[in-house]
Every structure is written in structure tokens, then in C-alpha cells.
Amino acid sequence: MVDYLARRLAASVLTALLASLVIFMLIRSVPGDVVGQMLGQTSDPVAAKALREFFGLDQPVWRQYLNWLGRMASLDFGVSWTRGQPVATMIGGALGVTLEIAFATLALATLVGVPLGVYAAIHEGRALDRAIQTFNLLGLAAPVFWIGLMLLVGVSTAFDWSPPLVYTPLTTSISENLSMVALPVASLALLQAAAYSQFVRQSVVSAFGQDYVRTAIAKGVPTRTVFFKHVLRNIAIPLITFMGLILIQILGGAVIMESLFALPGLGRLLLTSIEGRDYPVLQAGLLVVVMIAMLVNLVVDLLYHVIDPRVRLA
């Protein structure tokens, strides 16, 4: 176990290093930098030179990369070039918002999607199954930001209500915070519930076709027991893999929803730092996203082993 963990972490570190290199090179290879943005049209060559020296932009790219890597390794994320705040504080605050949306969506999508998939599978081929499958298809085909907009129109015409314009942290006011995140979470969850339900339906249907399930039914085990003791346990592993995939998908979707509903999350922070060419924020933010995705994958692999000790950690 320890051996496996060490090897997995080493591989993740290597991928993260490569990713950091890709991120760094991509960002630096582009014309225009923060100095150009700051000085605008009235660019005074002396001031520009001084500013570039101040930001370290006059050094060769490889040295800039190594400097940055060294500081990241000692957890020094630096200071934002456009706002002057510590990058760690900015990313920390934004990450909180995004993670709140992501986990709320994951919970809601699981609560809705899994039962739907199970119901569809139990009623395979009948009207209920067809209705749920139609929901799945429509949910997967609809663009998530469009669902968000349509929900907004729906609630505002039905209840004459629209979400507040300014974000309130969960710690300040729970109700204000929830009314702000309700619509983005609902629209993301609708999409992911469709994905879940389709996946669960397929897994349950194929599990019911297995010999061990047929044997259990044949020897007179009640269907309910067969479902909970045999079927559910055996679809747990693919389900957890799927949850990991969904969580990463939700992180991506959150970027769009944050921009639509004016939430100060990681996605919006990345968008604004791209516009301002705020390299320290952009680099650290992207690296955090990649690290989260890797962490999710690692946790999924470890959970395999916990659920089914037969799974060899290789």
C-alpha cells in the first residue's frame, strides 16, 4: 500500500511538473504582457523597462520558470501583478466558492441521478424507463449555461424572484449564500444527474444479467435483498470512478456558471487573470486545478482498494 502510494505520488508529481512547464510556456509564448496592459498606449520605454525588471520579465524564460518553480515548491505563490494581493489568499477564497458549488452539485446530482437510474433499470423497456431515458438524453444534449438561463427565466416569471447580484459567503449568511448558488448548482446538477442516471441504469441492467444475480433470484432471495446485497455492491466500483469523472466535469462547468451568475470562484478568477495577463495568479490557479484533478483520480484509485481488496494496487 505504502509502496503503491509512493509510486502513484511520484507519477503525479512528474505529470504536475510537466503540466506546470506546459502552463508556463503557453502563457509566456504569447505577445503582450502585464506591462503593456498597465501602461496602455502611453508606453514610456524607460518606465516599461523598469517595470519589466521589477516583474523579472527581462530574464530568460527558463530562469523565470525555475524561479517560479522554486517559489511554488516552498509554497510561496507570490503577489498578484494587477491587484497586489497575495496569490494564495485570492486563490484560497475563490477555491472555497468553486468547491462549494462542486460538492453541492455532486451531492444533488447523486441524490437525483442514482435513484433515477435504478428505477429505469428495474422498469427496463417500460414507459417509466423510456421517460427517464428521454430525460437523460435531453439533459446531456442541452448546454448547461442555457439550462441556467432558462431556469433563471422560469423562477423569475413563476415566483417573481431573481438571485442577489452580489455574492455573500456561506459564513456571513447561509440563506443569502444559498439563494446565490441555488441556480448554478441546480443547472449543473440537472446535467450531471442525467449522466449519472444513464450510467447507473446501464450498470444495473448489466448486473441483473449476471449469473450470480440469476442464482440469487432462483434460490428465492427477495428482489430487494438481491438489489442491495448483490447488485449495488458490484456496481460500487464503476460508480466511484464515475463520481470522480463527474467531479472533474463539474469543476469545468463551474467556470461557465460562475461567469454567468457572477460568483467569485476559481473560474472567474482565471478568466480575469487571463485578461489582465496576471501571470502569478494564472499560473498558480491553473496548477491548482490540475492538482485537484489528479488528487481526485488518486482518491478514486485508493477507494477501489478499500471497497474491493481484491483489486491489486499495481
Binding site: A19, L26, A141, P143, G252, A293, M294
Partner: protein, 299 residues
């Protein structure tokens, strides 16, 4: 017919008989397929409609997608403007209909580029194996470690909102997926007897790969194209919605949606209809992609 002919029946008997009436026409065979695979049939019909919109937008609207008439701004759907008008009085139906070509050609170009690049590298990587496979695999892992939307946002945001950059970004996001499909396909083929046979008669490795393996991996790549198309469409329109895609006034589904966002409570139809167009197209592509996948799996 040919099997009957092979039995040695006289030619004139076959021609004069009414046997040929039993050969199912294209419509009849479509109807038979529709009974067996209604999903695929529905998908194909919707896709045909979308293709017609792309090929002949003039059939569906007489309005110009760009003509501004401020006195008709934000009119709700009516007989004159079926989908209503936007904030400067442009006809939404015309914009959605003409936008189909803009949006879908960007998606298709990106998809073809990703399939060609990812497919070619995956094929070589899977067939040759060894150190090359290890290096390429690592690189693909790096690209896959980014959530697709975030990668797309990053590339278009940094390179600037131009159509060429949008296509580039979408292609980069999807190259790894084609790489994986082609790689695993080529690996499976490389172990088969026919490859060994070709090798034993002295065919060179590149010749085996190009002439034999490619031909057998190609169907996998084509089906992957259909399966990924709706996902490319989702990301393309998401980037358009974030303002990182096609720029106004060119009609693009995501861009029209973005434009309508600010008027969403006053004139919801501006955003509603392009979204519906995305939904219908994605649905058609999903149904057809799945139908093809099922057929391939059955083989």
C-alpha cells in the same frame, strides 16, 4: 438478387418476373431500420434537417442575419419574426439558421484536425510501442489532466478570440481522446495473425501499418468522431458564451446566447432559440453516434 442468379436461374426469367419488386427500396429499408432502431432513425432524420439548414439556409428564412432595424428591437416571436428579434432588431431565426454553418463548420474542422493528428500519433504509438509510446503517453496524460473547458478557456483566452484560435483550442482538447482510441486499436491489431503473416512474407513495418492496420483502426476513429461531435459542440458554444469564441456580429450559436444574456429577463427568446438549436443538434449527433457505436460493438 445475386444469390439467386448464382443458382443458375435463366437471366430473362429474373428480369421479366416481378421479383425485383421485392427488393426493398431505400425508403422501405429505412422504415425497417426505424422499426428496429428508432433512436438511430430519429437521430438521422434530425441530422438530415440540420444538414439541410447548413446547406441551404435560404430555404428557412428570407431575413438577413446581419440587417439591423432599431425600430424593431426586442420584439417577441410573431408571424413576421418566428423567433423574435434581438436588441438591435435582427431576426433571431435568421441568425440561428445562418449561425448553423458558422458553428458547425468550426466544430467539424476542429474534430477533423484532432482526429487526423491524434489518430496518426496514436496509430504509430500503439503499433511501434516502446519508448516512443511511453513519451507520447505521458504527454497525453498532461493534456488530459486539465478539465476540457478550462483548457479551452486558457488557450482561447491567451491567444485571443479569433476563429482560428478557437479551432486550435478545440483540436488540442480532443487530440488526446483520438490518440487513445487509435493507440488501443493499433495495439490490438498489432497482435493479430494477419500482421504476423504480412511480416512473414517480408512486408516492411510502415507498409503493414499504413496498408493494413490503418484500414482496420479507421472505423474506430470515425465512430469516435460521431461520439465526440456533440461534446465539441458543447465546448465550442460554451467558449462562445464566455465571449472567447466567434465575435459579433457574425452569427454563432454560443455568441448569440451570450448577447441575449444581458436581456434574459426582458427578451428571453434571444437566448432561448440558439440554445434550442444546440440541444437539437447535440441530440441528433448523440443518437446517431450511439447507433453507430452499437453496430460497431455488435461486429
Amino acid at each position: 438478387m445475386s444469390s439467386i442468379r448464382a443458382c443458375g436461374w435463366p437471366e430473362d426469367l429474373l428480369l421479366s418476373s416481378s421479383l425485383s419488386a421485392f427488393r426493398p427500396g431505400p425508403l422501405a429499408s429505412f422504415a425497417r431500420m426505424a422499426r428496429r432502431e428508432p433512436d438511430l432513425a430519429l437521430g438521422l432524420m434530425l441530422l438530415a434537417l440540420v444538414a439541410l439548414v447548413v446547406a441551404a439556409p435560404g430555404l428557412f428564412t428570407a431575413h438577413s442575419p446581419l440587417a439591423i432595424s432599431v425600430d424593431k428591437a426586442m420584439e417577441p416571436p410573431s408571424a413576421a419574426h418566428l423567433f423574435g428579434t434581438d436588441d438591435v432588431g435582427r431576426d433571431i431565426l435568421a441568425r440561428v439558421v445562418h449561425g448553423a454553418r458558422v458553428t458547425l463548420s468550426i466544430c467539424a474542422t476542429a474534430l477533423v484536425a484532432a482526429a487526423a493528428i491524434g489518430g496518426a500519433f496514436g496509430l504509430v504509438s500503439g503499433f511501434v510501442g516502446g519508448r516512443l509510446d511511453m513519451v507520447l503517453g505521458r504527454l497525453v496524460d498532461v493534456v488530459l489532466s486539465f478539465p476540457p473547458i478550462i483548457l479551452g478557456v486558457m488557450i482561447t483566452g491567451i491567444l485571443g478570440p479569433k476563429t482560428a484560435n478557437l479551432i486550435f483550442a478545440l483540436a488540442v482538447v480532443y487530440v488526446p481522446l483520438f490518440f487513445r482510441v487509435a493507440r488501443s486499436g493499433a495495439m490490438a491489431e498489432a497482435g493479430l495473425t494477419y500482421v504476423e503473416a504480412a511480416r512473414s512474407i517480408g512486408l516492411s513495418e510502415p507498409a503493414i501499418m499504413l496498408r493494413h492496420v490503418t484500414r482496420n483502426v479507421l472505423p474506430l476513429i470515425l465512430v469516435q468522431c460521431m461520439v465526440l461531435f456533440p461534446l465539441v459542440l458543447q465546448i465550442q458554444s460554451a467558449l462562445g458564451f464566455l465571449g472567447l469564441g466567434v465575435q459579433p456580429p457574425t452569427p454563432d450559436w454560443g455568441a448569440i446566447l451570450q448577447q441575449g444574456k444581458d436581456y434574459i429577463l426582458l427578451a428571453p427568446w434571444i437566448s432561448a432559440f440558439p440554445g434550442l438549436a444546440i440541444l437539437v443538434t447535440a441530440l441528433a449527433l448523440m443518437l446517431v453516434g450511439r447507433g453507430l457505436q452499437r453496430r460497431l460493438d455488435r461486429r
